[in-house]
């Protein structure tokens, strides 16, 4: 039990230090932009294709049920409500945890094992700021943007599916999709993904940066980063959804 609380404390301090250092100069702009490309741009094909496929699948499933009640006109709004409120943020976070979390964990631990972290320190450069803070901040900032791509690509997938099934026009599909969506349904769930970004950056950064197990540590860091990030994202999502319902009661209706 003591080991568990020690671990929680260490990870929390690691994440808080990352946030604090983000506001302290010198700012590592070049490295930060590299991470934006690595974490954001390179995740885009995964997010877009997953969103499109999930949109098609969800649309096909809901059609089968709603047709029985003559309510297929609700498919676009059901699709948008599902993705904007919950599925988009959560699935994006889990996909990024898999792709980016493993990458950060394995990349940093490999740098530790091959003495690259020591080499950076020996050059009087703060390796934590250079390698960890840039990744945490990039994860925090990029997650809401990736979530938007997931939301809209899933809508595109839903539209394609509906177009084939019922020949609905794009105009009508979008009208129905956004009819029941308000800013309060859209902004808080999208912004909550920054917290997921913080979790992914902190957990994978922690496992990668603090590894001391040699080459075996690279594998452990990658695996642990994905497993713990994914688990925490799902658990924290429960709290965040509750908080959103508290702050925006109309979302809960």
């Amino acid at each position: 039990m003591r080991k568990f609380f020690t671990f929680v404390g260490e990870v929390s301090v690691f994440g808080l230090k990352g946030l604090f250092e983000a506001f302290r100069p010198p700012f590592e702009w070049e490295f930060f932009l590299n991470e934006i490309v690595e974490i954001g741009w390179r995740s885009l094909p995964l997010i877009l294709s997953a969103g499109l496929a999930l949109g098609i699948v969800l649309s096909m499933h809901t059609r089968g049920t709603l047709v029985q009640f003559g309510a297929e006109a609700l498919i676009p709004s059901l699709q948008s409500a599902s993705f904007f409120n919950e599925l988009g943020p959560l699935i994006t976070a889990l996909l990024v945890a898999g792709r980016v979390g493993a990458g950060i964990g394995a990349g940093l631990s490999n740098m530790r094992v091959t003495e690259q972290v020591d080499a950076i320190e020996s050059l009087s450069i703060d390796s934590f700021k250079l390698l960890v803070v840039t990744r945490i901040v990039a994860c925090i900032l990029i997650m809401p943007m990736l979530t938007l791509f997931m939301d809209f690509s899933s809508l595109a997938g839903g539209f394609l599916s509906e177009r084939l099934a019922s020949h609905i026009s794009a105009q009508l599909y979008l009208d129905r999709a956004f009819k029941s969506i308000e800013w309060a349904n859209f902004i808080p769930p999208t912004l909550k993904t920054s917290v997921f970004g913080l979790i992914i950056g902190t957990i994978s950064g922690f496992y990668g940066y603090t590894t001391d197990e040699g080459s075996e540590g690279v594998q452990h860091a990658a695996t642990n980063s994905v497993v713990l990030s994914s688990l925490l994202i799902i658990l924290v999502d429960v709290i965040l959804v509750k908080a959103i319902f508290f702050l925006f009661p109309r979302n809960a209706v």
Binding site: M111, Q116, A119, I120, S122, L123, S124
Partner: protein, 259 residues
């Protein structure tokens, strides 16, 4: 660097300000003592080779010198700065005058060779313009014979080229103290001899103090002004190669024997 002048050996004629000094340094990992009350000095322009069996604290000594790990007791001075209890800011200041060639060269594998060398200049010498940085990088790469490989990624370099690239990065800030971890490991005899030539050039032309951890007796005799032999955490012998040839400790004589 301070102005303390010490004689370093009966035979070696190097006298000068102390570049690095260990005073009664002890370091343990768990129950295993890797350094036990070790003391020695290295002067500016001098090359000291640390030899010994694996796991006797040689690489740990280098990491202690650059502050990557802390001693359990004793004091470590780099020039006039005591670093055993220094904080990160103080260490950062001291490290600006030091270079470290890692055993694996430890080049940042996501950067080109040129960027690996530019990084310390961009961060630590803000007075330099991009053109001056470019020029310093080009000059240093030319010194180590890698002027045509500036845009290559580290994984495109051979073992010997990586070592030379690591040396170039360590030298780009013109350090007063260069720490070298096993320069000949994984290299053939000709290539390791080329690395030794570069280390001799650094010592002679820049008057840089060198502390070299090595198992290569031939290289140690060639580059080192003195050799320190560590065994089971203790400093068993310290002197020129010819002095150590007459050591009373058989381990010392065995370790520095070329045959």
């Amino acid at each position: 660097m301070n102005s303390l002048v010490v004689p370093v050996s009966k035979e070696s004629n190097i006298l000068g300000p102390v570049a690095v000094e260990f005073r009664h340094v002890t370091k343990a990992f768990g129950n295993r003592k890797v350094l036990d009350d070790v003391s020695f000095q290295v002067c500016e322009g001098e090359a000291l080779c640390l030899m010994g069996r694996s796991g006797t604290g040689k690489s740990t000594s280098l990491k202690l010198m650059i502050g990557l790990t802390k001693p359990d007791s004793g004091s470590i001075c780099i020039g006039s700065e005591e670093i055993a209890n220094a904080n990160e800011d103080q260490l950062s200041h001291v490290r600006r005058h030091m270079g470290f060639l890692f055993q694996s060269a430890a080049l940042l594998d996501s950067f080109t060779l040129g960027l690996n060398l530019s990084l310390p200049l961009m961060r630590l010498d803000r007075t330099k313009t991009p053109e001056e940085i470019e020029q310093a990088v080009d000059e240093t790469l030319k010194r180590v014979g890698l002027d045509l490989d500036k845009n290559k990624m580290p994984n495109a370099l051979s073992g010997g080229m990586r070592k030379r690239a690591g040396l170039a990065r360590a030298l780009v800030l013109r350090p007063k103290l260069l720490l070298v971890d096993e320069p000949s490991s994984g290299l053939d005899r000709i290539t390791s001899s080329e690395i030794d030539d570069l280390l001799l050039m650094v010592k002679k032309e820049y008057r840089t103090a060198l502390v070299i951890v090595t198992h290569d007796v031939r290289g140690a005799r060639r580059v080192g002004d003195r050799i320190a032999v560590l065994d089971q955490g203790r400093l068993l012998g310290l002197g020129t190669a010819s002095e150590l040839d007459k050591s009373e400790h058989e381990v010392v004589r065995q370790l520095i024997s070329e045959y």
